[in-house]
Subunit: 421 residues, 2 copies
């Protein structure tokens, strides 16, 4: 893509009302635009990152049997009254609106009630189980205060998967498989080493539930971690649970700020009983379906990556989610011969299957390099009059500043095969 | 995909309250689920069709310079007051809701105001023009009556592109390019031959605007068509315009029912003046940006395809948007040797890059064939004990019932190269 066509423009300053580092950098680098408190536009660069995150999530969810669908935002109150989650006293994040045809509709902030009702049509026998539908779909939450940039907004896409199982064993097997899939996702997103499967209170249906918490100074949450043992627990568990069964004592745990990047819940039969989702087992006995829910917010993942991996110059994307692999920075483009030559390099990179952003603007080298660092694409390739004359390109790796000089052929070969991030 | 894993189940009867043919068939065949009036779930099969439609739209929009992004649903009243489209008197489809933090938010039913405001940050000079951002994003419309199945719902994804031009010539060039791109899209969707670029009243900024109307008995709209001359006009134009400049007379036109599958508008400077989107031209003079908007609803396209191309047995998808290319119907699967062999055929089809749905259920042949006709995948391949013994497969083309007998090798070769729809 040519940067001159991309309507994204980098900015020296983020908006004054934006205090979160992730949103400041993403706004300055032209990934997002703040429309109002808690509502952002994903500009072309930002949408490319989100789509790469979504693709990773989809791959891992499909690999464990997930089936993608998409449910509506508009909510019929009857379903939520059945589970006692319609009233504003019980749920404080509803957006509701009058329906012109009469009555009130809600805007979905989660989808347990909807999917449970829907599955009544598709589940009647143990032969229909287990099932693992999921969606990447927009949630609305009427937060008193939107905060932490794109981490806590009033509308956001969420990957929410729901599991439907006949037996506790079937449920546990999927719960564990999803837990492993989540760690694969966070590893692929480049935040795996700082992310802990964290023990949280379990509620009525299991001893513990689990949050996936990423250690980060910008986090709103707090976890207690033993990095050596790879164990993390949340505040409630520290206070209430017997830590010895987790193999740690309180004195071994360090309090850290963190970001909740995912969560998995055993729901038991709470929703299947409330909404009458039953099946007939092998012995002909009718039972409520055992459920679980499993969430990841792609934008929150994106914000976490920015918070964790950026440096004083700007964003540092891991290759897996970078909007492009290579940032081709053209210099001396006011010289027609140089421009023609750099245009040719751009075309050849694309022909070699390399995902490339081409800075074809007529601007000073210093400005281009600063923008390139801010945007944070993994490899910067400088194509200038000098490069043309010498036949070699300066290649800078954004993550560590490593500089190499490559010939044109090495350039195509290197980026074609090199997958180190 | 294995049909036994797909939680979709075909139904003999559509819900009693669903009168539209498109929704009846799509519900019965397991593509969609009706959550409430005007709000549907796209089940795994349905989502596959929508994603194929979206991919075609994206390709054609990107080919004319479109840049994809995504804007929020939540709307700040201030922007809409500037264009006088906030009040319920002026706009009767708003969903609005109280914000817990104070104030009222709207749920976007279109995005002219949002994109105009946003582009103020990215457009200041003629050098920044033209620009063609678009999104495929959810709209909410508080319709008094949802109707026509998935054609007119209260929430739906829309592809909305907005053009920003410095001069009328620049605007006209894109308007025409988009008009051609739309016809390419409808051709690729299999409804091109029944779709007319229809002259409609132009409003303040152009003599005519254009709707894309597909002739269909199920349509809510009415157009006046001369099929031989390839000309269509809407009711207003028949009454008010001089038809001779379109090369037809009223007596040559036939009144037909139709579905509006797309529209393109010249907006002039209405929104850029209301929301202060100006640029400096080559002579240093400040001018308002000339805008246009261009919409297509993917779900409405899907419904139109179903309405037009289905027969008495069910849906008939064109290959371009079919959820799968091949429906492998396994018979005699209660016989272990046959099941192993059919499983192997399924694996080989996939290895040969063929998109295949495998009916691996243990059910009667008659039920499987009826379901297969209802679901409407382009090619049905029957793999039975008899096929195993004879070494040939019955292949039925859904569109015309044409039957062929192919060997295993022909099967892989045929579906690998054959692109006739």
């Amino acid at each position: 893509m040519r940067q001159s066509n991309l309507f994204t423009k980098t900015r020296k300053e983020a908006p004054a009302d934006e205090v979160a580092k992730n949103a400041q950098l993403l706004i300055r680098a032209g990934y997002i635009y703040k429309n109002m408190a808690g509502a952002y536009t994903f500009l072309p660069l930002g949408l490319r990152v989100i789509e790469k995150i979504n693709a990773i999530i989809r791959e891992e969810m499909n690999a464990i049997g997930g089936q993608e669908m998409v449910m509506p935002s508009l909510q019929d109150s009857a379903l939520w009254e059945a589970s006692d989650r319609w009233s504003d006293e019980n749920v404080d994040v509803w957006f509701k609106s009058e329906l012109k045809a009469g009555g009130v509709v809600g805007f979905g902030w989660t989808h347990e009630e909807v999917i449970t009702d829907l599955m009544r049509q598709f589940i009647s026998s143990y032969k229909d189980l287990p099932k693992f539908p999921y969606q990447i779909q927009k949630k609305f939450r009427n937060e008193m205060r939107a905060k932490s940039g794109i981490m806590r907004t009033r509308e956001f896409d969420m990957k929410d998967l729901y599991s439907f199982s006949a037996t506790q064993e079937q449920h546990d097997a999927f719960y564990n498989a999803c837990s492993e899939a989540y760690m694969k996702i966070f590893n692929r997103l480049g935040i795996g080493s700082q992310t802990y499967k964290t023990f949280a209170s379990g509620g009525a249906f299991s001893k513990f539930s689990h949050e996936f918490q990423t250690l980060a100074e910008a986090g709103e949450d707090v976890v207690y971690v033993n990095e050596a043992k790879g164990v993390a627990v949340n505040e409630e568990v520290v206070k209430e649970a017997d830590l010895s069964e987790l193999g740690v004592s309180e004195s071994e745990l360090t309090k850290r700020k963190s970001i909740e990047v995912g969560n998995i819940f055993s729901l038991g039969t709470k929703f299947s009983e409330a909404l009458d989702l039953h099946f007939t087992d092998e012995d002909g006995i009718e039972k409520p379906v055992i459920m679980g829910s499993y969430g990841i917010g792609p934008a929150r993942s994106m914000g976490t990556i920015v918070d964790l991996l950026s440096d004083e110059k700007g964003i540092v994307w891991p290759e897996s989610v970078a909007p492009f692999k290579v940032h081709l920075v053209g210099l001396n483009l006011e010289d027609a011969a140089t421009r023609d030559w750099v245009d040719g390099i751009y075309a050849s990179l694309q022909e070699n299957g390399i995902d490339v952003l081409y800075d074809d603007r007529e601007a000073r080298a210093g400005e281009k390099f600063a923008d390139s660092d801010l945007i944070g694409i993994p490899y910067r390739v400088v194509a200038s009059k000098k490069a043309k004359e010498e036949g070699t390109f300066e290649v800078v790796k954004r993550a560590n500043g490593e500089v190499r000089r490559l010939t044109e052929q090495e350039l195509y070969g290197d980026f074609d095969s090199n997958e180190d991030t």
